[in-house]
C-alpha cells in the first residue's frame, strides 16, 4: 500500500513538472539558478580549474619554495591557547611530534583551566613533547592567551592551532611553503576537516559542511583573493606581520578579525588545501547550535561595527577586500532574509503546488551538492574515506538551508538588535564590558 502510494506520488510529481515546463521551473526556482548554481557550482568549478591549472603551471616554483624552506629551516613557533582542554593536549602534542618539519617549538597557553591541564602539560614538558607551558591563573580570553603566547615565541613563523586538533604528518611543512612562494603572503590558512566524521549524523553533516566551506570555499576565496578567515584551528602567520598588527584583538571572531587587519596592511592571505588538520567538532546539535550562534554573531560585530571602514573608500580601501566582505554579507545576511521572503512568495503565489515545489527544490539542492562533492573528492587526499560521507549528502539541504539558516538568522537578530555577543561567557566579563564600552 505504502509503496503504491510512493509510486503514485512520484508519478504525480513528475507529471506536474513535465506539464509545467522549463520556464515555470525557472520562474519558481529563479533564485536557485541565479544564485546557488552560479555561485556554488559553476563559479567554484571554474575557479577550482583555474587553481589546478595555476598550480600545475607554477609547479617548479612550488618545488623551489619547498627546497628553500628546507634549506633555511626557520624556527616555527606553534601556539595553542585553550581552557580546560586537558583531554586533547596529549594527542595534539603527539601529532605535532610526528611532523616532517622538525624545527618547531610548541607552546601551550593555559587560560585559567581548572581541569587536569597543568598536570598533563607539566608531564609533557618533562618528556620534552612540548617546549613551553604558560599559564594564566585568571582567564583572560582567547585573544589574551594567544597574545601572551605570541610574546614568548622565538620563531620566524607563528602557527596558531586549537588544542582539540591533530595534524597530518606533512601539515606544518605544507602550510609553510606558500610563504616561500610569494613574499606578499602574510598568513596561510590550513585545511580544517572533521575528526571521525562518520561517528554520528551530526559529525558527518559538519564534515561535509567543512569540506564545502573550508576545503572548497576557502580555496576558492584564496584563489580569487577574497579569503576572509583563517581558522583558529590551523593558521600560519609571519611573526613580523603579527607583531605589526599587534596580535589578536578580543574575540569572538578574532580569526576573521586578524585577516582583515593583515589585509589592511596590504598582505595576502592564502589557503593551502594540503595542510590538513583535524578538529573535534561539537558532538551534538545543541553544542553545535551554541557554537554557530557565537560565530554568526561575530560576523555582525566585526564586519558591521569594528571594520565598517572597509565599506567606505578610505586610504586603506582595497577592492578585493571590499568584494570579499560584500560577498560574505550578501550570501550570509541578505540571502537569509531572502529565503523567508521566498517561502512566503511560494505560499502566496503557488499555494496549491507547494507540495510539488519543495521536493523539487530539495532535489535541485541535493544535485548541486553532489556536483560540488565530486569536485571536493577529486581534490581529496583521502578519497575513499571521504566518499563514505556521500549518503549524508541527502540530508545536507535540511542541514544547510533550514538548520544553519535558522541559527544564523536568529544570531544576526540577537546581535544586531540586542548585542548578545558582549554577554557571551566565551569572553571574561571584564573584557566584554570593555569591548562594549568601546563599541568594538
Amino acid at each position: 500500500m505504502e509503496i503504491y502510494d510512493f509510486f503514485e506520488h512520484t508519478k504525480n510529481f513528475l507529471f506536474f513538472w513535465k506539464t509545467a515546463g522549463m520556464m515555470k521551473i525557472f520562474r519558481i526556482f529563479w533564485f536557485f539558478f541565479v544564485f546557488e548554481i552560479t555561485r556554488y557550482v559553476i563559479f567554484d568549478i571554474i575557479v577550482f580549474c583555474f587553481y589546478r591549472i595555476k598550480k600545475a603551471v607554477l609547479r617548479n616554483r612550488w618545488e623551489a619554495a619547498r627546497l628553500k624552506l628546507k634549506q633555511q629551516n626557520p624556527l616555527v613557533s606553534i601556539i595553542a591557547p585553550g581552557k580546560n582542554e586537558g583531554k586533547h593536549i596529549t594527542s595534539l602534542a603527539h601529532s605535532l611530534s610526528e611532523q616532517t618539519y622538525k624545527n618547531i617549538e610548541i607552546i601551550i597557553i593555559d587560560d585559567g583551566s581548572d581541569d587536569d591541564t597543568p598536570q598533563i602539560c607539566r608531564q609533557l614538558l618533562r618528556e620534552g613533547k612540548i617546549s613551553k607551558y604558560l599559564r594564566n591563573d585568571i582567564r583572560g580570553g582567547k585573544a589574551s592567551a594567544a597574545n601572551f603566547g605570541l610574546q614568548q615565541t622565538k620563531g620566524r613563523f607563528i602557527i596558531h592551532v586549537d588544542v582539540d586538533c591533530s595534524f597530518d604528518r606533512d601539515a606544518i611543512e605544507n602550510i609553510l611553503i606558500p610563504f616561500f612562494v610569494d613574499s606578499r603572503i602574510g598568513a596561510v590558512s590550513g585545511n580544517v576537516k572533521v575528526k571521525n566524521p562518520t561517528e554520528s549524523v551530526c559529525s558527518a553533516l559538519q564534515a561535509i559542511e567543512y569540506l564545502k566551506t573550508v576545503t572548497i570555499g576557502r580555496l576558492v576565496g584564496s584563489t580569487i583573493k577574497t579569503l576572509r578567515i583563517i581558522s583558529g584551528a590551523f593558521g600560519a602567520f609571519r611573526k613580523d606581520i603579527l607583531e605589526r598588527i599587534g596580535g589578536w584583538d578580543i574575540g569572538p571572531g578574532l580569526d576573521g578579525d586578524v585577516v582583515v587587519k593583515i589585509r589592511k596592511i596590504d598582505f595576502a592571505i592564502y589557503m593551502e588545501p594540503k595542510a590538513v588538520c583535524y578538529t573535534s567538532p561539537p558532538e551534538n546539535f545543541k553544542a553545535l547550535t551554541k557554537q554557530r550562534l557565537r560565530w554568526s554573531r561575530s560576523l555582525v560585530r566585526f564586519r558591521m561595527r569594528k571594520h565598517r571602514d572597509i565599506f567606505f573608500p578610505t586610504a586603506n580601501f582595497r577592492f578585493s577586500t571590499f568584494l570579499g566582505f560584500m560577498e560574505n554579507m550578501v550570501y550570509n545576511v541578505l540571502l537569509d532574509i531572502k529565503w523567508i521572503v521566498y517561502a512566503i512568495d511560494i505560499m502566496i503565489h503557488f499555494p496549491s503546488t507547494a507540495k510539488y515545489i519543495f521536493p523539487l527544490n530539495y532535489l535541485l539542492y541535493t544535485m548541486s551538492n553532489v556536483v560540488q562533492f565530486m569536485v571536493i573528492i577529486s581534490l581529496s587526499e583521502r578519497k575513499k574515506d571521504e566518499l563514505k560521507l556521500a549518503p549524508y549528502l541527502l540530508l545536507m539541504p535540511l542541514y544547510i538551508a533550514i538548520y544553519m539558516r535558522a541559527v544564523r538568522t536568529y544570531a544576526y537578530i540577537q546581535e544586531f538588535f540586542f548585542r548578545v555577543s558582549y554577554k557571551d561567557p566565551w569572553n571574561p566579563r571584564k573584557v566584554s564590558e570593555k569591548a562594549e564600552e568601546l563599541r568594538i
Binding site: 585559567g112 607539566r122 614538558l125 613551553k132 607551558y133 604558560l134 599559564r135 594564566n136 591563573d137 585568571i138 582567564r139 583572560g140 580570553g141 585573544a143 589574551s144 592567551a145 594567544a146 597574545n147 601572551f148 610574546q151 614568548q152 599587534g246 596580535g247 589578536w248 584583538d249 578580543i250 571584564k430 573584557v431 570593555k434 569591548a435 568601546l438 568594538i440
Partner: protein
C-alpha cells in the same frame, strides 16, 4: 667507684669525695689497659690527645671498655662535634658529683652484658648502638651541627666508624628499625646530595634552557581593551604603564588591566618561562642536580625496643619473624593479600569454604626480654608446632614480630579455630616451660581469631 682522670694539670685540687676515688693520670701514661679497671673516665679537654683517647676507648675490642662512661673536663661547652658525640657529657670540679650517679648506673648496666665476638662490622655497630642505648637508658637523638657533613649526627652511634662522616650509619639505623631492634620517631626530613650525601646544599631556581640562576620574575599584564598580554616591563614607560599595542594608558587595575600570572626571565639567554627548574648545588662536592634527584631522608629519634634490649643483653641479633620466615616458608604480606583476593574470587565460583585466622602473642615484648640464649631452639619448636597444625596448602604470612596470619584453604571457620587452638595450647606450653626462669614465670598471652575468607580485614582479625 674508681675514676680515672686523664690530665696533665697537676695543680688541680680535687675536692674530697665520699665513697669514690679519683686517680689522676698524665696523658702520656694512658693506655687502654688502664681504662679497663676503672668505672668511669674523665678526660681533661686541655690535653692534646683528648679526641684520640676518646676514639681509642670507644673503638676498643672490649665492650667493657668501649661502653665506659667518659666525661670531658672543661669549663666551657664542648664545641668539637666529634668529642660531643663520643663522650657522655661535660664536667668540672664544681659539678663533679653530678656525673657520679649516672656513671655508676652506666657501669652497673654494662657489667651485666655478655662479652661478644663478631667479625662482621655491621653486626658490631648494631650491637654497640644497642648496648650504648641500653646502658645509658637513653633515646638516640640526632644532634644538629653545621660542621657535620650530614647536618644531623647521632652521638655514640657513629663511634665505631673510622670516619665520623660515614653515611652508613643512617642506613644501619634504618635497618635496625626495620628489624624491630629500634623504635623510630620522625624528627626531621633532610635532603642529601645524591653524589656525596652532604646536607649542605644551595637550592635555587634556574633557567630550564641554559641552567643559569640569573633570573628575575615579572608580573604579566593583560590589557582588556586590546587583549595584549605581556610582561610588565613591556608596558613600563617611566612611572606609567602604557600599552605598546594600542598606546593607551593603563590607569586602573581591574577595569583597564589585570595581572593574571607571573613570568620568569633569564638574563643569560633571554628565555621566558613560568616554571623554573629547582636545582641543588652541593657545597661539598659542587654537584649540581635537580631537586627531585636529591636523596630525601627521614631523620628519626630512636629508642631501643624490647627485642633490641634482649639483643643488647645477650649479644645476638634475633628476630622471631625472621627466624620463622626461614623455617615456615612464609609469604610476604602483599603477596598474601593477593592470594586472599584470588581465593575470594574462586570461592564465588566454586563455593569453597576457606577461612583466615590470626595468631598473636600480645606480650611478645616481655617474651623477648626473657627468652635469652635458647631462642633458636624455641624458634625451631614453634615452627614445628605451627607446621604440624597446618596443611601444606595453607598460606602463612607474618604481619609484625608478634602476629601471624594464616589462610586455611578449603577449611571452614570451625576447622580454622580448631587448628589455631591447637597451636595456641602447644605454644603456650612451650613458652611457659622454656622461657620462665626460677625467679620469674613467663605467662604468654596469645590471642587467636578466625573469619571467613571474604570477611578478611585486619580489624576483623585483630580487634584491639
Amino acid at each position: 667507684m674508681e675514676i680515672l682522670f686523664i690530665t696533665n694539670d697537676s695543680s688541680l685540687k680535687i675536692p674530697p669525695l665520699e665513697k669514690d676515688r679519683i686517680t689522676l693520670l698524665p696523658s702520656n701514661q694512658f693506655n687502654i689497659k688502664s681504662a679497663e679497671n676503672c668505672s668511669a673516665i674523665i678526660i681533661d679537654q686541655r690535653i692534646s690527645e683528648t679526641k684520640n683517647v676518646l676514639i681509642e676507648i670507644r673503638q676498643s675490642q672490649s665492650d667493657i671498655v668501649a661502653l665506659k662512661p667518659v666525661f670531658i673536663f672543661s669549663h666551657k661547652e664542648i664545641s668539637d662535634i666529634e668529642i660531643q658525640c663520643l663522650a657522655d657529657g661535660r664536667t668540672n670540679l664544681q659539678e663533679l658529683s653530678e656525673i657520679l650517679y649516672s656513671a655508676d648506673r652506666i657501669s652497673k648496666l654494662t657489667t651485666t652484658l655478655k662479652e661478644l665476638k663478631t667479625e662482621n662490622f655491621q653486626t658490631l655497630v648494631i650491637l654497640r648502638i644497642l648496648r650504648f642505648l641500653y646502658a645509658r637508658e637513653m633515646q638516640l637523638k640526632p644532634l644538629l651541627s653545621p660542621k657535620y657533613r650530614y647536618g644531623y649526627v647521632y652521638p655514640f652511634a657513629i663511634s665505631q666508624f673510622k670516619d665520623i662522616e660515614d653515611f652508613r650509619i643512617y642506613e644501619i639505623l634504618a635497618r635496625m628499625e626495620k628489624e624491630g631492634l629500634l623504635i623510630g620517631n620522625f624528627y626531621d626530613r633532610v635532603h642529601f646530595c645524591n653524589r656525596c650525601h652532604s646536607a649542605f646544599m644551595n637550592f635555587r631556581e634556574i633557567c630550564p634552557s641554559c641552567k643559569s640562576a640569573n633570573l628575575s620574575v615579572e608580573n604579566v599584564i593583560h590589557h582588556f581593551r586590546c587583549g595584549y598580554t605581556a610582561q610588565e616591563s613591556k608596558f613600563m614607560q617611566g612611572e606609567q604603564l602604557i600599552c605598546p599595542k594600542c598606546n593607551s594608558i593603563l590607569r586602573h587595575i581591574g577595569t583597564d588591566y589585570e595581572k593574571p600570572s607571573t613570568i620568569f626571565i633569564c638574563h643569560s639567554c633571554q628565555e621566558t618561562f613560568q616554571e623554573p627548574l629547582v636545582e641543588c648545588f652541593c657545597f661539598y662536592c659542587t654537584n649540581r642536580t635537580p631537586v627531585e634527584e636529591t636523596v630525601s631522608w627521614d631523620i628519626k629519634t630512636y629508642e631501643i625496643s624490647p627485642a633490641g634490649i634482649n639483643c643488647a643483653i645477650n649479644g645476638i641479633i634475633f628476630s622471631f619473624a625472621e627466624f620463622l620466615k626461614t623455617q615456615l616458608e612464609l609469604v610476604e604480606y602483599d603477596n598474601f593479600k593477593r592470594i586472599v583476593e584470588i581465593e575470594i574470587e574462586r570461592k564465588k565460583r566454586y563455593k569453597r569454604d576457606s577461612s583466615i585466622g590470626s595468631f598473636r602473642v600480645t606480650n611478645f615484648q616481655e617474651m623477648y626480654l626473657m627468652i635469652g640464649e635458647r631462642k633458636n631452639e624455641i624458634g625451631l619448636e614453634m615452627a614445628r608446632i605451627i607446621k604440624e597444625a597446618l596443611r601444606t596448602t595453607d598460606v602463612i604470612t607474618v604481619l609484625n614480630e608478634s602476629t601471624f596470619l594464616i589462610l586455611f584453604l578449603e577449611t571452614p571457620v570451625t576447622g580454622a579455630n580448631t587448628a589455631l587452638s591447637r597451636i595456641k595450647t602447644n605454644i603456650e606450653k612451650l613458652l611457659v616451660n622454656n622461657i620462665s626462669t626460677p625467679d620469674k614465670k613467663f605467662l604468654p598471652e596469645i590471642s587467636i581469631a578466625a573469619v571467613k575468607v571474604e570477611e578478611f580485614s585486619l580489624t576483623n582479625l585483630l580487634p584491639e
